[in-house]
């Protein structure tokens, strides 16, 4: 079955909240309301024609307007796949630490268990009724969700300093100071601060077109 047939099949179930098929996308997807997500999933898994045996991947994506939670389903017996999306819009006036919530699909697909834990851990998306809702990669006591766009790298974790310079690479012997860098004759003052190239521009604004400075 192709995506269009799958979508027709879904529509035929009579469940509300199933959006249009975005067939222009590279991977056609269907936007589903969070309230019917579990029913849709259960239908796609159990119906003999759709037969989506496996939930391949669960991803949360932070956009400016809120969060998308993307489910990649695939059928191994029928050789087709479908992408479902749940869009959680950020309510007006919510702060940056707002945590969107969608129902957990771990009761339908146990493979969602770890994926959902990871999305919670890294992006702060809550999955309601999850059987084992803990962080999976970061320590339990970690504050914040690092994949958020507004995440600020903390300077400490508990009492452990996290800034690179705070941790010595190795213990230096006082009597054996590190070899100083080779003496270089002092030149004219710098015309460009070296920091221009040693700090990374923000995503999207990186690396302007090359300019042939040497030939100016």
């Amino acid at each position: 079955m192709n995506e269009q047939q799958l979508h027709d099949k879904l529509r035929a179930t009579g469940l509300g909240g199933i959006g249009e098929l975005e067939s222009s996308a590279r991977d056609p997807f269907v936007v589903v309301e969070a309230s019917v997500l579990l029913e849709v999933m259960a239908f796609l898994r159990d119906d003999s024609e759709t037969a989506m045996e496996m939930l391949h991947n669960v991803t949360a994506v932070q956009r400016e307007t809120g969060f998308d939670v993307v489910y990649h389903l695939c059928s191994y017996s029928r050789h087709h796949s479908l992408t479902l999306k749940v869009i959680v819009a950020q309510p007006e006036g919510e702060a940056g630490d707002w945590e969107p919530a969608v129902p957990s699909v771990a009761s339908v697909y146990p493979s969602a268990n770890w994926h959902e834990r990871e999305q919670w851990d890294l992006l702060g998306v809550r999955f309601n009724d999850h059987p084992d809702f803990r962080r999976i990669i970061l320590p339990e006591e970690w504050i914040g969700h690092p994949l958020r766009k507004d995440y600020v790298y903390p300077s400490t974790f508990g009492e452990i300093p996290l800034e690179l310079d705070a941790i010595p690479l190795y213990e230096r012997d006082e009597n054996d100071p590190p070899k100083p860098s080779e003496p270089r004759p002092a030149g004219t003052p710098l015309t460009q601060p070296p920091s221009e190239y040693s700090t990374r521009p923000d995503a999207g604004g990186r690396a302007p077109a090359p300019e042939k400075k040497g030939e100016s």
């Binding site: 996308a25 590279r26 939930l55 994506v61 990649h72 191994y76 146990p110 493979s111 770890w114 690396a207």
Partner: protein, 389 residues
């Protein structure tokens, strides 16, 4: 010992026994990296287990949002560092899907040959380390002997021995040298003899079969439910291989190969020995693919002229998203990339096969012995670099 607070009643008598908590890892010879499994033990028998991962988290997805599409290629090397070529391939295909371009034909065939060579190298590590897990040290060295040949072969075009960064969006970094194909074919001939040797030494050894057969049985419905892919899935008898069923490279449609599945030769279908034997036979299938690929290798460019400018000007795909699945040695690696214009993606998610396969572990361990736990972890063949990313 502070962990012995919990007292449980043994059903068989009125003797009070204590539950022992055992930390398997993160510093343990057989967890294949920095995996920690918290085991509750009743003597040598495991009663409960809890996986703890994240010791090797290197923020790969966050880095992906901050570097350009091309610059992320070397970072994919470091996910499943035993199958860098396959990771490069998956990432390049994802970016190509996003850009709507396709690699030249010669590049596609060379990609296939390199990916299959890397698959053999990766399975050789799985074979060798599995031998060590079970207690046989010598097969490991024999496996590394052949892996060394593969690394020498892949080093010639790519310039590195493990982290190749060779397959790049749009094609390949550079063409192979003229003797390369001959040397690959010579390796194939040599490898077949060595493969038979491995089987005599380890696969058919009575002790090895005794240690692996009927251990860690994964039924088919559990495979689907837990999202296990690759040899773990095929070991349970599910005949599915993306290379055959959803060919992501054109040459895979043209070459002829089998998909080995577990048959329950020495016990229950889906046990450790089946998974191991699937990997062993996959190496021979890869040899078949490589031979056909070398015979049919077309000439031409390995990277489109248009794409070459990406080294100077970063790629800027249109807004959109792409999900690409590839058959890695450990299972299906999926990259999900969301672009909103600009030179970097806004979300770069890797669906790592080891991550999904490892989620089976907690359900497999209870009821087995500590020696079986090692055998089961080894048979899942995880790479912690990929689990934690």
């Amino acid at each position: 010992m502070e962990a012995l607070e919990m007292y449980t009643v043994d059903d068989r008598s009125d003797v009070y026994t204590e539950e022992l908590k055992l930390n398997l890892g993160p510093q343990h010879p057989s967890t294949h990296g920095v995996l920690r499994v918290e085991l509750s033990m009743d003597g040598e028998i495991i009663t409960a287990s809890r996986c703890d991962i994240g010791y090797l988290h290197r923020c790969a997805e966050k880095i992906g949002e901050n570097v350009t599409y091309l610059q992320y290629t070397p970072y994919t090397d470091r996910m499943d560092y035993l199958a860098s070529m396959n990771n490069n391939l998956a990432w390049s295909l994802t970016v190509e899907k996003l850009l709507g371009v396709e690699a030249p034909e010669r590049a596609q065939w060379l990609r296939m040959i390199c990916a299959e060579l890397n698959r053999i190298a990766s399975h050789l590590i799985a074979f060798g380390t599995y031998g060590i897990d079970i207690g046989a040290n010598t097969p490991f060295f024999y496996a590394f002997r052949e892996r060394e040949s593969i690394m020498a072969l892949l080093e010639r075009p790519s310039g590195a021995r493990m982290l190749y960064n060779y397959i790049q969006p749009g094609g390949l970094r550079r063409d192979v040298d003229e003797n390369w194909v001959t040397d690959v074919l010579a390796f194939c001939d040599d490898f077949e003899k060595r493969w038979a040797e491995y089987n005599t030494l380890l696969s058919n050894n009575r002790i090895f079969i005794g240690r692996t057969a009927n251990i860690g049985v994964i039924p088919q419905d559990v495979v689907y439910a837990c999202g296990a892919t690759g040899p773990v899935m095929r070991g349970s008898g599910i005949k599915w291989d993306l290379r055959r069923d959803v060919p992501y490279l054109k040459p895979y449609e043209e070459v002829d190969f089998d998909v080995p599945v577990g048959e329950g030769t020495h016990g229950t279908l889906g046990d450790c020995w089946d998974r191991y034997w699937v990997r062993m036979r996959e190496m021979m299938e890869s040899i078949r693919i490589i031979r056909q690929g070398c015979a049919a290798l077309p000439g031409g460019e390995v990277m489109e002229k248009v794409m070459k400018k990406m080294y100077k000007t970063p790629l800027t795909p249109e807004a959109g998203e792409a999900y690409m699945r590839c058959e890695n040695p450990r299972g299906e690696l999926g990259f999900y990339v969301v672009a909103e214009g600009g030179t970097s993606p806004i979300r770069c998610r890797a669906r790592a096969p080891s991550f999904c396969n490892l989620s089976l572990l907690d359900s497999l361990l209870p009821g087995t012995m500590i020696a079986d736990a090692v055998a089961i972890i080894g048979s899942l063949d995880i790479v912690l670099g990929e689990v934690d990313r």
